[in-house]
Subunit: 373 residues, 2 copies
């Protein structure tokens, strides 16, 4: 290692460790939470009642610090069945047309936006203007311009914006991050992130450019992008990328099937990533350092996440990711807690900036610098 | 999967299986060899008595079908100590100046060229002209032009040329290849090959462009190239590549430290590979198919190789790779056996053609088609 790299890493390690962090990492924290006098409960309205919203709603049953107090959907029958199932008062059920009325509802602290990607922009901005904190599912938007407008809207409304990066609270993941921060792995030189699955129904919104804003990269490849950042502990400065399409019927223009991309970091570390809607068995992170390694496999599925390092296996018990996420987000939004790994709008926006550079690199066939301005 | 891909894979599977192959895979074969009446022994002269030659020589102690009967070195003292250690008659010890005299020596069937990469060209051609079969360590040469001349020289001398691709005889590796050929993994869509280590002594020949012909890619990255071909079961048609250098003192001009490269195959499968002289813990193959996966980790070290698939772990007993290799090469050279995975000069030449395309892709920053002509 040359000196400039060593100096960089030294400075980086210090600045990372100097951040105020949660009292401990997620598992310990969750145990701790359960034995502490409880703080106030975050009262959440779910906006967009699809499959993932159901998963969030069910996981929130186990939360100590968050509960569902509102529902927002374009489908009146869903408002009724979900309302009964999750005990949400009729007065707290809204159609999209009535989002703005949230400002008069004291039962709701935050809105969790769970609609298809292209709708996040409108829904986040309207929720913010109604004076509610916003949690937005990833990707936060379908483009950098939209993402910036969302960050600005939340700032000017004086509300917080968080992105649903559930892995940033996952105990095995955080344990690897801790090892990297503490230097156990030595300076990091390589990260590999493979994220994908074979997508089913060709008519779902995830394969519709208008609603999804792209293909696998927007939906599942983003885990490798976001993962590269928290695993390596730096933000990438360049990207190269190669797109492959084998099924032109299922994956239409603008909907990516498989993209390989490579990231370069200021320290000289590199990352090799795969994003795909056409392959199973691929859900793996591998972090390599001068003194050790860590693997997560599966790395980003709904769990259990399994991990191992050069010194053994990781054995954190599985807790539904969305349960931990919502308890932690309650602490961020209500107590002002600063999480180990940030989940704010800026983090979401930077992922969009990297995504745009990846799409650009696919098109030009050339290395692209990443513009975080 | 679209139809054209399915048709391709179907045809491919048939053509692969139609090849005549060894009676079984390497472990079974080795067991079988030990219980059969032995065929003639391949009498081998080792040319170039460095560290790897020592490993080959020691492994050959356990061979049934190959033995050392000659030694060729530029260092007289080595000829004496090695000659005594391996019981090689004084008349069968040669300096480089006397290689051509091998033609008059009936005690030697084949020459195993183990000199630094840039010397392979001269040594292989001289051994072939002396009428001996040639085994040449990989990479077979430092460039495509040299490789072609070596293939041509062996053909015109009527001798066989084999390349020291020891992994092509390794039992866990061959078991994965068998699964791919039999269709257990389904059509292959992705291969990952990470090959590297942190190289020590900055003054060794492997870091000298004149002798090595390059850096990590020539020495260790070639395992990922060669592995991609036998794991996927196709030859790549395009490559993209990105070079990173963190230590400009150790890795001088023309000596690559770290290269990421990506390969595209006719079926639409893709590969993601890493070649490095700057990282430890990286020696992993991962093969992904529509129906299953296989991992080898370590994948190419001297063993034991460890493997697992979606259905369990691979448990082949470890035998020194060079022992199996030399027994199998005896059968190829003396009995005309056709191995499951070819190890002839053409395979070596194709790796050089891919290497040149990778270096070109690093320089141009653009995708390069691979020229196998």
């Amino acid at each position: 290692m040359n000196h400039s790299r060593r100096d960089f890493l030294h400075k980086f390690a210090l600045s990372s460790l100097a951040l105020p962090i949660l009292p401990s990492f997620a598992t310990e924290h969750t145990r701790w939470l359960r034995t502490q006098p409880q703080g106030p409960v975050l009262r959440v309205a779910l906006l967009g009642l699809g499959g993932y919203a159901k998963r969030v709603a069910d996981a929130m049953n186990a939360c100590q610090r968050a509960k569902i107090t509102g529902l927002i959907s374009g489908t009146p029958s869903k408002l009724q069945t979900w309302g009964e199932l999750y005990h949400v008062a009729e007065k707290n059920r809204y159609t999209y047309a009535d989002i703005d009325d949230l400002k008069n509802n004291p039962d709701i602290d935050a809105v969790y936006v769970l609609t298809p990607n292209a709708l996040h922009h409108e829904h986040v901005i309207r929720a913010a203007k109604a004076g509610k904190h916003v949690i937005c599912e990833k990707p936060m938007a379908v483009g950098v311009r939209e993402g910036k407008e969302m960050v600005a809207a939340c700032a000017s409304a004086g509300v917080k914006l968080l992105i649903g990066y559930r892995m940033r609270f996952e105990p095995n993941t955080l344990d690897v991050v801790r090892r990297r921060m503490e230097g156990t792995l030595g300076p990091i030189n390589f990260f590999q992130g493979q994220c994908g699955f074979k997508i089913g129904d060709p008519n779902q919104w995830r394969l519709d450019k208008q609603l999804a804003g792209g293909g696998a990269l927007m939906d599942i490849g983003i885990y490798a992008i976001n993962g590269a950042r928290y695993m390596v502990g730096e933000d990438p400065i360049w990207v190269t990328a190669q797109e492959t399409k084998t099924d032109f019927n299922k994956f239409k223009d603008g909907v990516d099937e498989t993209i390989q991309f490579q990231l370069g970091f200021p320290s000289g570390a590199v990352a090799s990533c795969l994003s795909t809607y056409a392959m199973n068995f691929l859900d793996r992170f591998y972090l390599n350092g001068e003194k050790g390694f860590a693997e997560l496999w599966p790395a980003t599925g709904y769990g259990p996440i399994k991990g191992k390092t050069n010194t053994g296996t990781l054995t954190f018990p599985h807790i539904a990711h969305q349960t931990i996420q919502m308890d932690e987000m309650a602490r961020i939004l209500l107590d002002g807690a600063v999480p180990t790994l940030a989940v704010d709008g800026q983090v979401g926006l930077q992922d969009l900036q990297i995504i745009e550079a990846i799409y650009q690199a696919c098109q030009t066939g050339r290395r692209q610098d990443i513009d975080f301005s």
